[in-house]
């Protein structure tokens, strides 16, 4: 029971009244709105700034100082625009589709290991739940594109769905090496195992972030990251919204707040993907060479929590930056190249990594390079 | 025994399973659309899984039921894939997916 619903417990303890499940719900809402929404807004701003910078231009600088409030302006514009349903469209599905997409993306938050204590619900199946939930996006897109009764949106929707589903396989496969190393699906546990352990008596515990456990895992991280890009339809895999061909892909017919939901969903998804990468391979909230837990008895848990949160968010923002960075550097892949990359490139590579990790684990009895290299020295 | 306890209890699960089963059955029998039939089948399989899970929790207290459910899910996936492939083939061949039409094998 240890860390599950830790956050909820802490809230309940803090407020002291009401059954736990109420507080669980509240905690979920808080995380969602406290983190997700502002991040999304900021992300839009940052992205436009970064892309402008890359293109050697200024980017949004009219609203607020340095255009910081641009996202609020967008947000207000979204809300103001008329949100209409095209004639002949399937009304129910048309309204249901964005909700599904957003729900899929946000649901994953419950599992993200912000810090040892700000963990939504450290479920036993953790990472499996994350994967499961993110799969909701695909049908959502499909329904959205079909409901809009528009050939271009339908094609965009089909392509997006196909892309998301195909890339789930390399993403899943590249998650497995991390699981193999840490032996559990619980993301919290996984992050725990990545803590730096110095003391010799642990013997085999010279860990460092999974990415550096063995060469295969290192490769698996990159694979996971690329898979994540594809899952979120970001360049170089953003065929569904490729302006030049399909106007804006599956969301052409959406306007107003429904379009806003799509945009929000997109950025939340990016956040979730990068946080998964960080949690599994880049040590989550584990500082590079310091094992906070071992020091925690001296620092108040709340501080430890926020330090871990900060470390986690820094890693995530770095990855988001890389994502935005990639947007203006890599050319867009054609559909067949996309599919070929997935099935002929990533999937075999992922299998190799999985096999490699398994063999490594079997051969070196689960010890990482570090332990191998440092182990004899230490003792 | 209020509705909440009933819902959580074995009878609850079994009733839901039974209802799902019959609805799935009805779908399979009376849907003209081949895909409708497929939906029906999925429902029936889920009904079965519910029963398994319920019994694994309330009677067997062992994970065997869950394992069987796991297998059911995997097989259902494979089955759905092949079924849909066949339906696509049927569509390409007969320009329709109406189950009634695909009765070349009739007398």
């Amino acid at each position: 029971m240890a860390n599950s619903a830790l956050f909820a417990h802490s809230l309940q303890d803090w407020i002291g009244i009401g059954p736990l499940w109420v507080w669980a719900a509240v905690s979920a809402v808080v995380i969602l709105y406290a983190i997700a929404l502002p991040f999304a807004g900021i992300a839009t701003y940052v992205e436009r700034k970064v892309s402008a910078d890359m293109q050697d231009r200024f980017g949004p600088n009219r609203v607020g100082p340095f255009g910081i409030l641009q996202f609020i302006a967008d947000f207000v514009k979204m809300l103001a625009k008329q949100d209409f349903i095209p004639q002949g469209a399937d009304r129910i599905l048309f309204s249901l589709a964005p909700i599904l997409v957003l729900a899929g993306a946000c649901a994953a938050f419950a599992v993200l290991p912000l810090s040892k204590y700000f963990l939504g619900a450290d479920m036993n199946i953790g990472i499996l739940y994350a994967l499961a939930v993110t799969t909701l996006i695909a049908p959502g897109l499909l329904l959205g594109s079909w409901a809009s009764q528009n050939k271009w949106s339908l094609l965009g929707g089909l392509r997006a769905a196909a892309q998301i589903i195909s890339y789930e396989i390399p993403v899943a496969l590249s998650i497995f090496p991390a699981i193999l190393i840490s032996g559990t699906l619980q993301i919290g546990q996984i992050v725990e195992t990545q803590g730096w352990v110095w003391s010799a008596q642990a013997g085999t515990d010279y860990h460092f972030w999974n990415a550096f456990h063995n060469p295969f895992c290192f490769l698996a991280m990159f694979l996971l990251f690329v898979g994540g890009l594809a899952e979120t339809n970001r360049i170089p895999f953003d065929l569904p919204e490729a302006e030049s061909e399909l106007v804006s892909g599956f969301s052409t017919e959406f306007s107003g707040m429904r379009f806003g939901l799509y945009a929000l969903a997109e950025f939340v998804d990016i956040f979730v993907m990068s946080s998964i990468v960080v949690a599994l391979y880049l040590g989550g909230w584990q500082l590079p060479f310091i094992n906070i837990d071992q020091l925690s008895d001296s620092i108040p848990t709340l501080l430890v929590a926020f330090i871990q949160l900060g470390c986690f968010l820094v890693k995530v923002f770095m990855l988001v930056f890389v994502v935005m960075w990639l947007r203006w550097t890599l050319p867009r892949l054609r559909v067949d190249q996309l599919m070929a990359a997935c099935w002929k490139g990533l999937v075999p590579l992922a299998l190799v990594n999985l096999l490699g990790t398994a063999v490594w684990m079997w051969a070196f009895n689960g010890r990482s390079i570090a332990q191998l290299v440092l182990g004899p020295m230490v003792n | 025994m209020n509705i909440l306890d009933w819902a959580v209890s074995l009878e609850g699960y079994l009733c839901v399973g039974a209802i799902l089963f019959f609805l799935g059955l009805a779908a399979v029998l009376y849907r003209r659309n081949a895909i409708g039939i497929l939906l029906g089948i999925e429902l029936i399989l889920n009904a079965a899984s519910i029963n398994f899970i319920a019994f694994s929790k309330y009677r067997a207290v062992a994970i065997d039921g869950q394992l069987v459910t796991l297998f059911i899910i995997l097989i259902a996936a494979a089955e759905a894939a092949v079924a849909l492939a066949i339906i696509l083939r049927l569509y390409r061949l007969r320009e329709t997916v109406d189950a009634g039409e695909a009765s070349i094998m009739r007398n």
């Binding site: - | 399979v28 029998l29 039939i37 189950a99 009765s103 094998m105 009739r106 007398n107």
Partner: protein
């Protein structure tokens, strides 16, 4: 002496064999071979006859077992051999003499004919057969040579095989004689059945001892049966009444053949048979009467027929039949000695008559008397011989005919007086005598006297060469009475020069036959009959001659008027009492051939088609029925029926397969429901 007889028989056979195989290649086509053969036989026969004349009795036998079959009781023996007694000697002399003369005559007559050598072969075979018959001591070899003669007559009558009438005549001759032969054969079988042998001595002895009285054959007393059968044989061979039709037609053969076979020898064989078997006939009491009647009737009727004939040879043929009738009558009335004498004398003068007619035919190349006439001047020698022979046959004194005929008629008259019931026999005899004279002189007048009716033929007529005339002369001389009884032929007158060799011969034979001595008290009748017969025959002969000269010489009574006066009788005679018509059309054509055709058709259709092929038709019928049954019942109903049912069943079941997946599912679920309901609900 028996061996010489064997040689007499074998020489002509040898000649026959030579002629058949080498005749064509011999010089003069081998006629001298036959002549030599018969000549030697004549030479061998003369000493035997000489002994008879000198010693008055000749007897010799030679026999050997020809065939013996072992049987439970001893063995079934057939012993054959040679018997020479007085009659045999006489007959040998007569046969060889006549045959020799006729051989000589035929050398001339047959000159230039094709198959010349075969003619002589057949004649020598015939002579051998006749001689064999004469010398045989038992009825079996007698029968064998008897049939061989039949064969020769068949071959010789049909010598001119190109003429259809000739071959028809030969077949008719053979068949009629064959009928007679069968009778004789049955007689032979009878003999073997009764006596176990067919040798004459043993038969004479057995008959004399009365051994056969008790036995019966076919319900008749044995001897009577045998007698009748022998008579039948004689009738067939000697052309007696019912079976006489073949002799006139036999004239188709060359004249020497007619002379030899149908005058002298073969036809006489029948009488000789009767004489040989006389003891048997005598012992059977009833047969002799029939013999007599047959003889008498034949004599009379044949004589009547002779009157109307226009063909010279036909006239002589009927006269032969009539004279044979006399002989048979003679035997019938018991005067077998007289019959035998008549046989001998008849052989001589009838052969002479035939040869004369042969030379006439040879010169005028026709046999029809109406085309002849006035040949007296043209052929003086032939005319002379013919006249002598005619006188002899008419029974005028000084001639042999008178001697023998008179004795026969005397016997007949004596018989008639004894058995007054049978008065008809002498009457017919004397009538025949008269008519004989009439037709004979009719012949003489028509051929030799009067004017030539056909100038062309008359002109060509010429006397025959010496080789043909010599035999005529010899035979003519033999026709005189002097050889047989005395110069005049009447016992009363020629006491001085009377010749008694014949009486002695007859006495010897009677002794052999061991006949029961005739009842003496009739001696008186015998003497009276003898003198009466003498007178009657002279009167009748004279009348006959007178009448024929009236009609034919002087022409006072024209034959045409006579014919019209006796027209019904004439037509009857002209058609030969319709015997031919009866035999040919009715018995042969309608009866026999018709019956044969019917029987053959019956055989072919009834027995072959119905009884035999009928079975196949029945089987086919059954087969078709079974086939039909099999096809209809089994094939149609059982097989196709079941196939039909399964098809129906299939159709019914098939309707369930609607092809709709859901329907199947419903069905299975329904089943599941029932199952569950039953399993759970019922419990």
């Amino acid at each position: 002496m028996a061996q010489t007889c064997l040689w007499i028989v074998c020489l002509p056979i040898l000649a026959f064999v030579i002629q058949v195989f080498f005749g064509k290649r011999l010089p003069r086509q081998g006629d001298w071979v036959s002549l030599a053969a018969i000549g030697f036989s004549l030479l061998l026969a003369i000493p035997i006859f000489g002994r008879l004349l000198s010693e008055g009795h000749v007897f010799d036998t030679l026999s050997f077992s020809w065939l013996s079959l072992p049987q439970t009781a001893g063995a079934f023996q057939i012993i054959i051999g040679v018997l020479v007694n007085n009659f045999t000697a006489i007959m040998l002399m007569m046969v060889t003499l006549c045959a020799g003369l006729i051989h000589l005559f035929s050398v001339g007559y047959m000159h230039g004919e094709d198959r010349y050598h075969l003619f002589f072969a057949y004649i020598s075979l015939f002579s051998a057969a006749m001689l064999g018959l004469v010398v045989s001591d038992n009825l079996l070899t007698f029968f064998i040579f008897w049939e061989l003669m039949g064969l020769c007559s068949y071959l010789l009558i049909g010598f001119y095989y190109k003429k259809p009438e000739a071959i028809a005549a030969s077949l008719k001759a053979f068949m009629t004689t064959r009928i007679g032969d069968v009778g004789l054969f049955l007689g032979l079988c009878g003999l073997y059945a009764v006596f176990g042998t067919s040798q004459f001595e043993s038969i004479y002895a057995a008959v004399a001892s009365g051994a056969a009285e008790s036995k019966t054959l076919l319900g008749m007393p044995a001897l009577t049966f045998i007698g009748f059968m022998v008579l039948m044989g004689a009738i067939g061979k000697s052309a007696q009444f019912p079976l006489h039709v073949w002799l006139p037609d036999a004239m188709e053969g060359p004249t020497p053949v007619s002379a030899l076979i149908h005058a002298a020898t073969m036809v006489a064989a029948g009488v000789f048979l009767l004489i040989r078997m006389f003891p048997v006939l005598e012992a059977s009491h009833t047969v002799l009467v029939y013999v007599a009647y047959v003889g008498a009737v034949t004599a009379f009727l044949a004589a009547l027929l002779a009157i109307v004939q226009v063909d010279i040879k036909k006239v002589l043929a009927y006269s032969t039949i009539s004279q044979l009738g006399y002989m048979v009558m003679g035997v019938g009335v018991g005067a077998f000695a007289a019959a035998f004498l008549h046989l001998i004398t008849h052989a001589c003068f009838k052969a002479c008559l035939f040869l004369c007619s042969g030379s006439v035919i040879h010169s005028v190349h026709t046999q029809d008397m109406r085309e002849m006439g006035g040949l007296k001047s043209k052929m003086p020698w032939t005319f002379a011989c013919m006249l002598i022979a005619t006188l002899s046959i008419s029974g005028l004194p000084f001639f042999s005919g008178f001697v023998s005929k008179d004795r026969v008629l005397a016997g007949a008259l004596a018989y008639g007086m004894e058995h007054t019931g049978h008065w008809l026999i002498p009457l017919l005899g004397f009538a025949a005598a008269g008519i004989t004279a009439f037709y004979m002189f009719r012949l003489i007048y028509m051929t030799f006297f009067g004017s030539a009716r056909d100038e062309h033929k008359h002109h060509h007529a010429h006397e025959q060469p010496i080789v043909m005339v010599l035999p005529l002369v010899v035979l003519a001389t033999l026709s005189f009475a002097v050889w047989f009884s005395g110069p005049t032929g009447v016992d009363a007158f020629d006491q001085v020069f009377s010749v008694h060799w014949y009486e002695h011969a007859v006495a010897g034979v009677e002794k052999e036959m061991a006949l029961p001595a005739p009842v003496e008290h009739h001696e008186g009748i015998h003497h009276v009959a003898h003198s009466l017969a003498l007178i009657f025959s002279l009167v009748l002969a004279g009348a006959g001659i007178f009448f024929s000269s009236l009609v034919y010489l002087k022409g006072w009574i024209s034959p045409v008027k006579l014919k019209s006066f006796f027209s019904p009788i004439h037509t009857l005679l002209w058609n030969k009492y319709y015997f031919d018509h009866l035999y040919i059309n009715i018995i042969i054509q309608k009866g026999l051939l018709g019956w044969n055709r019917f029987l053959a058709a019956f055989d072919d259709w009834v027995i072959d088609r119905i009884l035999v092929d009928g079975w196949s038709r029945i089987v086919l019928f059954i087969k078709s029925i079974v086939g039909l049954f099999d096809d209809l019942v089994i094939d149609r109903m059982l097989v196709d029926g079941s196939a039909g049912m399964t098809a129906m069943g299939g159709w019914a079941v098939r309707r369930i397969q609607t092809g709709k997946v859901q329907h199947y599912l419903i069905a299975s679920l329904a089943a599941l429901g029932f199952g569950l309901f039953y399993l759970i609900g019922m419990r």
